[in-house]
């Protein structure tokens, strides 16, 4: 529970200490729409990486950069629409707007990270918000992954326009999401909880012709 | 004026149609008129007609920068209804409705006013509350209006998906049996011909480039064909009202937006009423030629380009196919856009202005066509008497300062 009692902001660990069943935003979708198997002819593969730690960082780049570097060991991506990640690819930080970044870390690390960031930032003007319950991360791979994205988003996903290390918030079907490209072959979709089922059904529908499969 | 009738038509057929008269003259502008109407669309022509007919003011010019009826009159989806929520707007639109009902005979021009009924669908509980509220208000205002159940809707429009499985199931509708559609071009032409016959000069390709104002009083206009004088000037130029106001030195609480519409290819008759849905946002009727006429939404940005953004059309057709899944294989023939002047309260302005003698009739948003005869009738009265017609009084510009808006946005959603 909250051992951090600063009076400026209310911060505490939203994860239980004991083993308690958690449900990803797609729990209902898996029951209701199923998970098509990944087969040899699956030219698009979807995989959820549920329960990760998601933090929103707000503040001026100059204010945040030192703290982020010190605590996360990653530079704050200053260029619009860019994404930095550590060597393991497990921790990432993404530019969302001139004063907003998304940090994704392995589930369970986010509270400690937030505490350390707050300590490092001291009395500066900033905000850190845990949003881990509100979104989930989907990975999309496969030879037709890009075409599946082209069916879904007006954003240009051609490698010339969307190199590795890019991430954008954009329109996706009739919803929106954060689209990132951490590696040559892998795309990441950060989707909001309440829209997750719609987006999942969209991806299965649009991906059917590529034999889309869902791992996990 | 040559009277039109079935008998006359047969007579002309015998002479190979060689003896048809001009429907209106192509006069040379006079130096001076009693009243100048700026804008030769439906509302402007109607104003001129009623000035001449009801008030005996025949020394009137209608100045049109392009061709008669070439603005929104030519671009709307032709829906006519009067089931508005607030007393003030209901009264104005019902006044128009009563004129519509005898208009073909009055003008001796068949404007094909077809009272095939208009239904406004409700998809949410709040939609239904708003519908009940509006229908009750209509009823107590003496306007035909009722609430339909999904079963009644299905009976009137068997091809609509009224199932509970729809994304936004249809919970009910308001229904105005006297409402319907009219042939938009014919309305302009009918008024033009009748006004011309009473002596009104219809001046096409005559663009107003400025106002002649002295001591806060208008006394004429500058045009591309020279100056024309009149002590009373009425501007009825939907889509360009703001531009005219700027010429006269004041601003209006208006923004001009693109409003798009589209038609399918002609189909054998399949839909014999008008269906509107604010919630999924689309409205549709079928013309006597067989085209499905479909109205799209307003684009959010200001625009004088007579075209809007493609996603607006996409969303509209999504709504149409949601309501009518069988239309998925029907094809869209054409799309186009008009320019609508929208007011913050979705109601028109029929008002005097800071310039004496200069009146504006504008801000009809998406609801202008249905008001055409009523708007002209009331505006003519206002111009003739230099005083707001009682039905026009609530629609003065002053309301934006006092706060006494007639907020049709509030409960009626988007007013079409």
């Amino acid at each position: 529970m909250s051992d951090y009692t600063a009076t400026w902001a209310n911060v505490y660990d939203v994860r239980p200490e004991t083993e308690i069943p958690a449900e990803s935003p797609l729990a209902w979708s898996y029951h209701n729409s199923g998970r098509p198997n990944v087969g040899t002819n699956s030219r698009a593969v979807l995989r959820e990486r549920a329960m990760l730690g998601h933090l929103i960082l707000r503040g001026g780049a100059i204010v945040l950069d030192d703290a982020v570097r010190q605590v996360l060991g990653l530079g704050l991506p200053a260029r619009p629409n860019s994404l930095s990640q550590d060597d393991s690819g497990e921790r990432s930080i993404q530019w969302l707007s001139p004063d907003e970044w998304l940090v994704i870390v392995p589930g369970g690390e986010e509270f400690a990270l937030e505490k350390r960031l707050r300590e490092a930032l001291g009395g500066a003007h900033y905000a850190i918000v845990n949003v881990g319950g509100g979104q989930t991360l989907l990975e999309l791979e496969g030879e037709m992954a890009r075409e599946l994205l082209m069916k879904s988003t007006p954003y240009d996903v051609h490698p010339d326009a969307f190199p590795v290390g890019k991430g954008v918030t954009t329109v996706f079907a009739k919803s929106s999401l954060i689209l990132r490209r951490p590696t040559e072959t892998r795309w990441e979709l950060v989707v909001r909880r309440s829209f997750a089922d719609y987006l999942y059904r969209w991806l299965l529908d649009a991906g059917a012709e590529y034999g889309i499969g869902v791992e996990g | 004026m040559q009277r039109y009738s079935g008998f006359g038509l047969a007579k002309h057929a015998l002479s190979h149609h060689e003896n048809w008269e001009r429907q209106w003259r192509n006069p040379t502008p006079k130096k001076q008129y009693d009243v100048i109407i700026v804008g030769g669309g439906g509302h402007g022509l109607a104003t001129a007609y009623y000035l001449a007919k009801e008030h005996g003011i025949k020394n009137v010019a209608v100045l049109e920068k392009g061709w008669l009826g070439g603005g929104n009159t030519a671009r709307n989806t032709t829906i006519v209804r009067s089931n508005y929520l607030w007393d003030e707007s209901a009264a104005l639109y019902e006044h128009a409705m009563k004129l519509w009902e005898g208009l073909s005979q009055d003008l001796n021009y068949n404007v094909m006013f077809s009272q095939r009924g208009v239904m406004n669908l409700g998809h949410t509980l709040q939609d239904m509350r708003d519908i009940q509220r509006r229908v009750n208000a209509n009823r107590l205002n003496g306007i035909d209006s009722e609430v339909l159940t999904p079963e009644q809707i299905q009976e009137i429009v068997p091809i609509m998906d009224c199932s509970k499985n729809a994304r936004y199931p249809i919970l009910g509708a308001s229904w105005q049996p006297r409402a319907g559609v009219a042939r938009h071009d014919a309305v302009a032409w009918g008024f033009a011909r009748a006004a011309d016959a009473l002596g009104v000069d219809l001046l096409q390709n005559t663009e107003v480039t400025g106002f002649k104002i002295r001591d806060g009083r208008v006394f004429g206009v500058h045009t591309n064909r020279g100056d024309i004088e009149a002590k009373t000037v009425g501007c009825v130029a939907a889509g360009n009202s703001g531009v005219l106001a700027k010429m006269a030195g004041f601003r209006l609480p208006l923004e001009s937006h693109p409003l798009q519409a589209l038609v399918s290819e002609p189909l054998k008759p399949i839909l014999d009423t008008v269906v509107m849905s604010n919630h999924v946002h689309g409205y549709i009727s079928q013309t006597d030629k067989g085209d499905l006429v479909i109205g799209a939404g307003i684009d959010g940005y200001n625009g004088y380009g007579q075209r809007g953004s493609y996603p607006t059309v996409e969303h509209t057709l999504q709504a149409i196919v949601e309501m009518f899944p069988i239309f998925s294989r029907v094809r869209m023939n054409r799309q186009w856009g008009g320019i609508v002047d929208t007011c913050p309260d979705a109601c028109p302005i029929l008002s005097a202005t800071p310039v004496k003698g200069l009146y504006f009739n504008c801000g009809w948003g998406t609801g202008g066509f249905k008001a055409t005869p009523g708007s002209g009738h009331v505006f003519a009265w206002t111009l003739a008497k230099n005083q707001a017609h009682p039905l026009a009084a609530p629609f003065s510009i002053d309301r934006f300062h006092s706060g006494a808006l007639v907020d049709e946005h509030g409960a009626a959603g988007v007013a079409h």
Binding site: - | R307, S309, P311
Partner: protein
């Protein structure tokens, strides 16, 4: 459908990511209580609505969520520039008219927008929209 340069994301994005928010540079009166009903009504409702060059407020709603301004021709729909909050437009109806008068620049025929705001346009008056 517009292609709009977001001055914060520093790239062209599809119109579907944006919402138009009306005329730009409308400043809320500093002392509303001192306004007459007429002045207050003017602030709330009365707009320029020009046919031609228009400065308007947009928000990159599905994107960086930042508000910014655009100079757009309301007839051709050409976007002549976009610029950040607090900045002033470099292109106005007057500047275009002047340039046209000098014969140096043709008024754009429509279609594609030109560029985002240049750095020179930054006349940063923090928090003032006028």
């Amino acid at each position: 459908m517009f292609h709009i340069y977001c001055p914060y994301c520093e790239e062209l994005r599809e119109e579907e990511e944006f919402h138009p928010k009306g005329q730009a540079h409308i400043e809320r009166p500093k002392d509303p209580e001192a306004c007459s009903d007429e002045e207050w009504g003017d602030y709330l409702f009365f707009r320029d609505n020009p046919r031609g060059i228009h400065h308007e407020l947009w928000v990159h709603a599905v994107g960086c969520r930042k508000f910014f301004n655009a100079t757009r021709n309301t007839v051709t729909y050409e976007i002549l520039e976009t610029y950040k909050m607090g900045e002033q437009p470099t292109i106005t109806a007057e500047s275009l008219a002047n340039r046209e008068a000098l014969g140096s620049v043709q008024v754009a025929g429509g279609g594609q927008q030109t560029v985002g705001a240049s750095n020179a346009s930054v006349a940063s008056v923090k928090g003032v929209k006028a």
